[in-house]
C-alpha cells in the first residue's frame, strides 16, 4: 500500500475510533432533525415565515461556524499537540515527515467532508419528513453549499494545525485556538478592514455563489483561500519538520 494512503487510513482510524468524533457524527445527524422538528411541528411562528431553504442554510451555518471549527480544534490538538505530549508524533516507520504531516492534515479534512455530507443528508431526510414542501432543487443547492463550505474549513484546519504545533500542551492548544477564533469575530468590529484577511470571514463563502456575485470576485476569493492554505500548510510543515521526540 502506498505510504500516503496507508497513513491516511491510520490517521483516520485514530480519529474515528475516538468517542468525541462519534459524538460529532451524532450531532451532525441529529441537529438538523431537531431543528426541523422544532420549526415545523412546534409552530414557531417567526421561523414559519422563512422558506425551508433558508432554514437549511441556517443549519449549515451553525455547523460551519461553530460545530465543525470546534471539531477541527479538537482533532488538530489530538493529532499534533496530543501526540507530541505522548511521544507518538514521529514514528519509526518508512514514512517521510512531509507524508506524515500531509496525511494528518488530510485525515482531519476528510472527516470534515464526511461531517458536511452527513449534515447534508440529515437536512435532506428531515426536509422530506417535516417540510410541507420539498423541492428537488433544494437537494442540489444544499449539497453544493456543503461541498463549497469544505474549502474554507480546510483553510481553518491548516491554521489550527499551525497553532497546535506551536504549543506543547493540549489544554493550552485548544484554549488558544478557541480564543483566537472568537477574536477573529470581534476584530472586524474594531478594525473593519481586517475582515477580508481573516479565515473566519470566508466560512460562509458558499453564500457568494448563490448571490449572483461576479465570477471575478469568486475567483479572487478562491485564490485567497488557496493561498492562505498554502501559507498555513507550509508554516505548519516548517515547524513540524523541526520537531523531535
Amino acid at each position: 500500500m502506498n505510504t500516503i494512503v496507508a497513513n491516511s487510513y491510520n490517521e483516520l482510524q485514530k480519529l474515528v475510533t475516538r468517542r468525541v468524533t462519534k459524538l460529532f457524527f451524532g450531532v451532525a445527524l441529529s441537529i438538523p432533525f431537531i431543528v426541523k422538528l422544532v420549526v415545523n411541528k412546534l409552530f414557531i411562528t417567526d421561523w414559519m415565515a422563512l422558506p425551508s431553504e433558508n432554514i437549511n442554510f441556517s443549519i449549515l451555518d451553525l455547523f460551519i461556524t461553530i460545530i465543525l471549527p470546534l471539531f477541527i480544534f479538537i482533532a488538530a490538538t489530538y493529532l499534533f499537540t496530543g501526540e507530541s505530549e505522548r511521544g507518538t508524533l514521529l514514528i519509526v516507520r518508512p514514512i517521510s515527515r512531509i507524508e506524515l504531516y500531509l496525511t494528518k492534515t488530510a485525515a482531519i479534512s476528510i472527516i470534515i467532508m464526511f461531517q458536511l455530507l452527513m449534515t447534508w443528508l440529515s437536512i435532506i431526510i428531515s426536509s422530506v419528513l417535516f417540510d410541507q414542501s420539498f423541492h428537488f432543487s433544494s437537494l442540489l443547492t444544499s449539497l453544493a453549499a456543503s461541498l463549497l463550505s469544505w474549502v474554507p474549513l480546510i483553510v481553518l484546519t491548516s491554521l489550527a494545525i499551525v497553532l497546535a504545533l506551536l504549543v506543547n500542551s493540549s489544554v493550552l492548544a485548544i484554549s488558544s485556538m478557541i480564543f483566537l477564533y472568537l477574536l477573529m469575530f470581534v476584530l472586524p468590529y474594531l478594525f473593519p478592514n481586517v475582515m477580508y484577511l481573516l479565515p473566519s470571514s470566508y466560512l460562509d463563502w458558499y453564500m457568494q455563489w448563490f448571490r449572483n456575485m461576479s465570477i471575478q470576485w469568486l475567483i479572487q476569493t478562491f485564490t485567497y483561500l488557496c493561498s492562505s492554505f498554502a501559507l498555513y500548510f507550509c508554516t505548519g510543515y516548517f515547524i513540524f519538520s523541526k520537531k523531535e521526540v
Binding site: 505510504t3 497513513n7 491510520n10 485514530k14 475510533t17 519509526v92 516507520r93 523531535e244 521526540v245
Partner: protein, 235 residues
Amino acid sequence: MEKALVMTGVTKLFSTGRGIKDINLSVNQGDIIGILGPNGAGKTTLLKCMTGLTKPTKGKIELFGINLDGNFKMAIRPIGALIGAMAVAENMTPYQNLKMSARFYPEIPKTAIDAVLQLTGLFQHRNEKISTFSMGMKQRFGIASALLAKPRLVILDEPTNGLDIEGLLLLRQAIQEVARQSGVTFVISSHHLSELEQLCNRYCFIINGKAQLYEANINGQSLEEVYVKAVEAAN
C-alpha cells in the same frame, strides 16, 4: 561483513549542555550490542539519532549503507524500534495498533501480527484496549511492534523496564531466537548488566556523551568490572 549501522562523528547537544559528542560506532550484521551508561549520559539520545526521531547537530548515520538523513524512508524500512512511547493509539487494541503499523509493509503476511503477539505472550490480550494494559504488558506490546516487520536491525531502549520475570525470560528467548534464526542485529540499551551479559557480543559505554566500545569477555572480566572501571576512569 555487511555493516548494519555506521555512525560517523555524530554529535547532538542540547541547550543544557548534555547530549552526545563525536560518536563513532560501527555495528556488523548479526551483532547484539549493549548500550550502557549512567543516567543522563546520552543513551536514549543516541538511539533516537539512529532512528531519525532526533536530528544530530552534526555527523552522519548510515543504516545498511543508506544515509538516514538523505533517504529516511529507504534507510528506516529494515529497522524496528522501541524507544519511548509503545503504542500509536492507546484507545485501540494491540491487534489494531499492529495492523496500522503493518500497512507500511505490504510484503509482510497477515499472520505476522498474530505471530509477534504469540512471541511476546500478548495473543490472549489481542482484543483488549492498550489503555487497560500494565506497564509490563505495554512494554511487551512495544517489543511486538518493533519485531512486526521482520526487521534486520532492532533498536530497543530499556526493553526490560516494567517486565516481570516471565517477561524477562520471554524477551531474552525472543531476542536469541530471532538473532539465531534470521541473523537480526540488535542494539539494546539497558541498566540490567546481567541481561546484557547473556545476550550481547559487544558493548558500547556512553559516558559523559562519549562512546567507548568493548568486545564481550575481554580478559575474562565480567561486564560489571569493565563498566565500573570505565566509569571510574572517565570521572
